[in-house]
Each structure stands twice: as structure tokens, then as C-alpha cells.
Amino acid sequence: MNASHETLSDLTGAPVATRGPAVAPEGLTVPGSRPSPRRKAGRGETREAVLEVTDLRVAFSREGRTVHAVNGLSYEVRAGEMLAIIGESGSGKSVSTRALMGLLPPSARVTGSARLGDTELVGMSEKAMRRLRGCDLAMVFQDPARSLNPTMRIGAQIVEAIRAHSERNGLDKKGAQARAIELLKLVRLPAPERRFHEYPHQLSGGMRQRVMIAIALAGDPKVLIADEATTALDVTTQAQIMELLVDLQERLGMAVIMISHDLGLAASYAQEVLVMYAGKAVEYAETEDLFSNVRMPYTRALLGAIPQLTTEAHSLLPVIGGQPPDLSALPQGCAFRPRCVNAQDDCAVAPTLDEHEPGHWFACWHPAESRRTPAAEAARNGSTAATGTPAATGNPLSKGGEA
């Protein structure tokens, strides 16, 4: 499908978009940003880690039961890179980022560590968090219609975000207005001076999301969290917004955490992918590594369940039965065990996230076969198999059942 890389733009002679993952030029400094300390990156590369999360756990109590939303999550995000956190509903992906931002209700118990540069986010007071939010750490939500105040003009909302950090940027009202228009230009909103005075309902979904991004950028954040930011958008609008995010990432050297359930999105845009299930990371690798060599049975199931443009119509998709686990009654051992094809007795002991292959972490005692063995490599060079899907590997994932 489209293997010749021809696109509509090609056909009309318009410039072809760049392919391949975006790489932030090293040493890029942006006025107003603070340098982060160098941290040891786990891949043998020397990039600064702006955010380091270690063993994050979040629990709520509800009617006497404890809901374990996040159970020991660890990852790193580097400047200028995009980490995609993929999971279905109930995986804890959104809860974990809200824990970082301090947006959970006070009765949520957050333990573990999340270091943004030198600052420890877990256990921070609300007052300190407010100074940080929007400043070093910003978030864009899913539904722009609900995240924007319908009774306030767009410009006023951006100015509000800028003025909230006035002690940092020292801007007065006029300066803030000018900066707001600058930001609207940065996010490529057409006719920014006019839109400044408009209300949210006068803008389309894509434009509103751009405004949300502008608000998020108001404080020059080091890390931007996009929580299902494009889920509610059309696919053409999504492409526009993602391109904008990538461009901003390159220009501003920002780190982006993209939360989604869409593996395709992760494959196209992210440098690293982390797959979550039942509050834990179950697979974590660089994008190319992960998709060319999927090990975790859950990730395989996810990939297999996605309809693809090249499969035959009316064919049955490989499905797994069962449901996501009840987070207040997590089973002993591996949470995916009841639904896993490869499950065996020793799965009663919870697997840990280990680096089983260089640069590829997963938590499984019986993962799918690796493609990186010499024999597999040889076989691979003979065919054009590139991605780890059941159709290609003959992995029997069919275990029909009820939803």
C-alpha cells in the first residue's frame, strides 16, 4: 500500500514530507529554557533525560476496596524525543500522567519517583505544582471542546495561561497579548489576529486543538504530555496536528509523551514505545525495534486485532477472549495470564520488566519468538516480512470468546 511513497503532494509537484523519525539537533537551546542535567541514557546514547519515572504507583480507595491504577511504572523521556505510551482503557496510562501533573484527587495515593530535571514531582505540594504546571510540564487533553472555556475568547484564555507564569516571563498584559499571537502563529492557526478575538465554538476541532497546544506551550515546557490529543479528531486533522507537534518538538527541543491506544500513531511518530497493561509497563523499546520484533503476547494481540488495509475483506481477525482485569482485584502473578496464549504455570509469579534484548524491555516469562536470532534473521532476509503480525508469523492467537 503506497509503497512507492507517492502521495497526493508528489503528484502535484508539491514538496514531499520528510520520512523517518524526527531527531532533535543536539545542543539546541531555546531562549527561556533551562539546561537539564545530563543523565545516563539506557541505550548507549548520550541524550539528556528530562523526565525520569521510577516505580510509579497510584492507588485509589473506593467503597472499601483499593483500585490499583498504576503498579510500578518506570521510564525515561529525553529532550526532543517522543515517547508513546500505548494501552487500552483501564491500563493506567492516563492516570500515570495525571499523577505526574498532580491532577489526581487528594485521596489518591501516589508513590515512587518522577524526577523532572532536579525536581521530584511525587509528593510535591499543590502550590509548588501549580508553579510547575504549564511551565516545565504541560498537558494537552483529548476533547478540546471541553478543555476550553466556551464563554471566554481564545485570546483571553491564552493570555491567562501566559500571565499565570508572569513571575517567570515578566510579561505585562500587552506583552502577554503579543506573545499569545506569537504562539498562535507557532501552532499555525490561520489568521491568528482574527482568531484571537473569537470564541471556541467558532473554531473547528482541529483549530481548537491547536489553541490547546498554544496554551500548553505558553510556559515553554520541557515536557508536553498529549493525552489522547488526536483521538477525537478526523484522520486528516490528526495528521496535521501530529506534524505540528513533531515540528514543534524539533524547533523547541521539547520532549513529548504521547498517550494513545493507537499503535499506528506510535509507529509513525514516536521514537520509543511503552505498552501498558493493568497499570504496568509490559513492553518498552525503540519504535523500530518493537514493531520489527514484538515479543509480548499482549502487544502481539493488539497488533493482530487491528484491521489492516492489505488484508482480505471478510476474513476473521485473530482475537483473544476475556476482559481487561479488575484493577481492584488484580490476580497474583502476570495480569495478562487469563487471556494469554503462552500462559504457563510459572506465570503465577509476576514477571518483571527486564532488558531481555539490547534496548528492548518486556515483562514476560514466555514471550513470542524473537526475530533477532540468527536463524530468524536469515529467514527474514529471504522474504520481505518486516512487522510482527500474526499473519506473518503464524502465531495462533485465535481464542474466540466473549468480549
Binding site: 503506497n2 497526493l8 466473549e402
Partner: protein, 361 residues
Amino acid sequence: MSVVEQEKTGAHAAATTEPLLSVRNLVQEFVSRGVGGVKTGVVHAVSNVSFDLMPGETLGIVGETGSGKSTLARSIIQAPRAKSGEVVFRGQDLMTLSHHGLKKARHDMQMVYQDPFGSLNPRWRVEDVVAEPLLAQGGLSRDARRERVHELLNLVGLDPATYCRRRPLELSGGQAQRVAIARAIALNPALIICDEAISSLDVLIQAQVLNLFEKLRSELGLSYLFIAHDLATVKQVSDRVAVMHLGQLAEVGPAEQLYLTPRHPYTRALLDSIPGLDPETGAARRPVPLAGEPPSPLDPPSGCRFRTRCPRAQEKCAVEEPLLTDHGNGHHVACHFPLEDLSATIPGPREGTVGLAAGAE
């Protein structure tokens, strides 16, 4: 030969088979009102849409927000009635039927909605939900009804003993949608309209429900009108696909052909916008975004409605509205400057392996 006649004698349908559903020149408009009820404009939700659906066929309708695909579905079931046009279902024009006649006709046509919980009354039990159409039709004793309900629940993969007495809030999204499907097939309809029926479900559950649709299709001989915004999902279940843009049909054709060799620039743009991996190289395939904002249905562009975003637009596109023309094999395109046949440069689906093509939610 007109489009309609060509369809009827097309290669994919026996010449003697009548279409199950025949839509002609369907128009639906909504008046948009401002403060105080003053009319501020007209939303051209569906503009002059015509197509046929053969028995046993699945027609996928793809479009983005504002394309009018959901409005099209509702106009077909006459809720509310369209402004003008013809909807001939099993030989009867639904637009001309009385309230009573419509009720009868609707037994054969059912709908599955996007929100599985919204389509079930939260206070009813599952068995009551599934029995409702049986009760409305009448003619069955209570025991016969109960038996049929059990049969239907088994068909959709829900164990009657476990699920009969449950209420919707005790179900997961996938289970609730299965109940909705059980209700939809209760009266043995000929046609089921799926209006974004799986968009609200989790990825793994979507796959299960898609498989259920396929299973029911082969077991019960159902025809589907499958409406969605995700191109890959639509292709999975459809024989033919129609692409809608701002209330009009941009392109209709056999699924394989349409996806492999799209003729309309909009279809091409949609396909190009899907993120995923390149099946050949395994490298990330960056979608090329379509420039510009989608026009408003309140004020659609003159002539071709896609021209404001189309890189191939010429003067003619602003002046003359393109009509659906046949490009062979049942592939119709509404464009003055359709894309040329590119099949020579793109490998067929069996070569190379699959890539990721999950669309946006």
C-alpha cells in the same frame, strides 16, 4: 447508461437481482438557528446521494466529521424523514410510506448505534431489551419469546444464564454492544445499518465485534451498511466502499479496487493520512497532511466541495459540480480530474506483508 443502470447490470451482481436498498437523489438539510430562533443558515448535510445495496452485500460508508454519513443513515431509516429523494427498500419507497406502513417496513431494517450504553435503556434488563422487538411484533407466547431471546444471546456469544438478568451498567462496552446486536437481529432483518458501531470500543473488543458481524453475515445472510471513519476497519468488512465528503459521494467502488487505486483526490488524501509502518521497509510512514481546514457544511464551496483543499483543483472545479461517472467495474468517481491508474507502480496486497494502518478513533 446511467449510473443506476450500470450498477444493475454490473459484473458483481446478477442481472436479475434487484437491489435490496436503492437510494436516489437523497437530500437532507437542517436549518441552523441563532439566538431567538432566527434562521441563520442551512446545513447541507446530505446532498444528492444515490447508491444501491445488493442483498448479501456489505457497503461501507467512509467519511470524516461533517461528511453526513450518520445523517445519511438516519435519513434512510426515516428518522427524521429526508427533505427529498427516494429510498426504495424491498421495492417500497420509504419516503412515501405512512407512519403505519413505515413501522412494518422497519422490521426488516435495523440499526446498531455508536454508543452501546446509550442504545440500551439503563433501567431494563438484558432479556427485556432483546425481547422488545419480539413483543412489538407480537404473535409469540411468553415462553416462545424467552426461548428466542436465549437463542439470540447465544448467537452473539453471550451466555443467557449469565446475562439475561443483568442491566446495561453491569456490562462492559463490548457486551453491551452485543446485546444491541442481538436486539437488532431479533426480527431477522434483511439489512443492518451499523452507525460507527465499534468506534467507542477498545481495540481488542473491536476485533471481536467485527468478527461477530462477519459470523452473523454468513450465518444469517445479512446485508450491512457499515458506516465508520476508520478506513481499515471499513475495508475489513465491506464488499464495496463509498467515500463521502461534505454530504456528497466522492467515490464508490469495490473495496480492493478503491483502496488500491483510488481515483478521487480526497480518497487518496484519506489513505495518505493514515499513520503506520511501511509494509516494505518497516520504517515509519509519516502521513502527509492535507492542507487547509475542512469547509463548513453551512457554506459549502461552489462546484466541487473538495476544491478548497484539493491540490489538483482547476477553474472548472469551482464552476461545475462533478457528477459520479463510471470508471469501469462499478467504480464511480465524482471528479473532473481523477487520479490516473497507478496500479502498475503499487504491489498487490499479497506481496509484502502487512503494515499498521490503524486509523484515528
